[in-house]
């Protein structure tokens, strides 16, 4: 039965090497090639870490919602595992995004936290919601129920992400002028290219970690089931 199944970790090594190369190149370019931004100087380079991380985090949350939807559709628990790992990883990246965002805000605006910036505020709200995912998941004991309710949460929260961004933006667009609006359009080519590479690198990192985590979890589950079979054989045969 297990022989016919694909080995869970296939291609992981190649993926990891590709990720390391892309991220290495991207951040090499950040330090040695891209110009310092005229207004903010060197500190603006945190942009190449913060923004890709934020984009990948939100993408991961939405991916978790899509996997959750597939779990509800099919009732197959493998989708729940995928959804769980996607959200779990995104949560960790979200912490990184909030910290780097805060550092950037401090360096360029002089404050650790700026309520006028709708993206930052929306991100915090989304983070607070997803921080409940694990308490919810692990406070439901029955495995099928856990998969189902975690998936319902993933779908609701996944739909909430764009809604929340729209609402916060709408609420503030009228009261505060957008200072940074359209700033990215005026980036020189070298910055654009590096930024793109950083996004690709961050996405690859996310995929690699996701695949690694899935592999590790499935392998552990397979091992546990083999062990159980072995135990039942050992206790069952003498009798």
């Amino acid at each position: 039965m297990t022989e016919t199944r694909k080995a869970p970790g296939r291609g992981l090594k190649r993926l990891a090497i590709l990720t390391a190369l892309t991220l290495g190149t991207a951040y090499g370019l950040v330090f040695f090639w891209t110009p310092n931004e005229a207004d903010q100087g060197f500190v603006q380079k945190i942009f190449y870490l913060h923004v890709p991380m934020a984009i990948v985090t939100l993408g991961g949350f939405i991916l978790g919602g899509i996997f959750g939807f597939l779990q509800l559709r099919s009732g197959d628990r493998k989708w729940d595992l995928r959804s769980y790992v996607a959200i779990h990883l995104s949560l960790m990246l979200a912490v990184g995004t909030l910290i780097t965002g805060s550092i950037w805000a401090r360096a360029s605006w002089g404050h650790w936290w700026v309520w006028d910036e709708p993206v930052l505020v929306s991100f915090l709200i989304v983070f607070l919601l997803y921080a409940c995912y694990q308490p919810l998941r692990f406070s439901i004991e029955d495995a099928d129920k856990q998969a189902r309710y975690a998936s319902v949460f993933a779908v609701v929260a996944g739909a909430f992400v764009p809604l929340n961004f729209a609402a916060v933006r709408l609420a503030q667009a009228y009261t505060h002028p957008r200072v940074l609006g359209g700033a990215q359009n005026s980036m020189p080519g070298s910055m654009q290219l590096t930024f793109l590479l950083a996004i690709i690198g961050m996405t690859l990192l996310y995929i690699t970690l996701w695949k690694f985590e899935i592999t590790s979890k499935t392998t552990r589950m397979q091992l546990a089931s083999i062990k159980r079979r072995l135990d039942s054989d050992a206790t069952g045969s003498p009798a």
Binding site: V126, L128, S139, I140, A171
Partner: protein, 224 residues
């Protein structure tokens, strides 16, 4: 389906009238919050943004209490099995729960809005009341659609009472942003100002989206 919803709603309201579990607790929490806000802000009367914020914090806190209790009658004593065994569409259950929570919220606000006007509000309530009531009812509807979904999820968990507010608060931030902005103008010190159309629109759209999400997901939420 409509008939079933009304029957289920009657059951919830009857339970509340006889048991008095949710609404009195919600009212008491709201009143305590008002007292705490008076001392925390150090002000005898509020208007504008501060008044709006105080009112919505109070409503939100009492709402989270109601959301946490919404499915208690189903989760205890096998009530859920009884509801699910009856030949009732799941959507009917959702509609009934949304209506029940909406009714509780309105009942609570009938008490606490006058109390708020009496205890904390600077400007007179009467001229502001029609617009305020409109925003309150609309936002109650949004809270009810979100709350019935959150309540159904949270009740399955061991830490139900903890999870309900933790899930509900972030999910309610978008309609709350719109509601506080709208109410700030209504409760301004110089008499109620007009409400820009975008705020009710945001609240209504949000309620609509969560209503649809609820209809789509309720088959999975109510299963035992």
């Amino acid at each position: 389906m409509f008939r079933n919803s009304i029957d289920l709603l009657r059951k919830d309201l009857l339970l509340e009238i006889r048991g008095r579990e949710s609404v009195p607790a919600m009212v008491l929490l709201a009143l305590s919050t008002l007292v705490v806000l008076h001392f925390a802000l150090g002000q005898a009367s509020l208007d504008g943004e501060l008044a709006s914020g105080a009112l919505w914090i109070t409503i939100l806190f009492s709402a989270t209490l109601g959301i946490g209790r919404l499915f208690v009658s189903e989760s205890e004593d096998g009530g859920m099995d009884a509801v699910l065994l009856s030949p009732v569409d799941r959507t009917a259950i959702l509609v009934a729960k949304v209506c029940a929570l909406f009714t509780f919220l309105v009942a609570v606000q009938i008490v606490i809005v006058p109390a708020f006007a009496l205890l904390l509000l600077g400007p007179h309530l009467a001229p502001a009341l029609p617009k305020l009531a409109g925003i309150l009812l609309l936002t109650d509807f949004a809270i009810a659609t979100v709350g019935s979904l959150v309540g159904a999820i949270a009740v399955q968990s061991r830490i139900r009472d903890l999870l309900a507010p933790l899930l509900a608060l972030p999910l309610l931030i978008p309609p709350l942003i719109a509601a506080t902005h709208a109410t700030a103008g209504i409760l301004a010190s110089g008499g109620p100002a007009g409400v820009p159309g975008r705020w009710p629109l945001i609240i209504a759209l949000y309620a609509l989206v969560f209503g649809l999400l609820g209809i789509a997901l309720y088959d999975n939420v109510l299963d035992d």
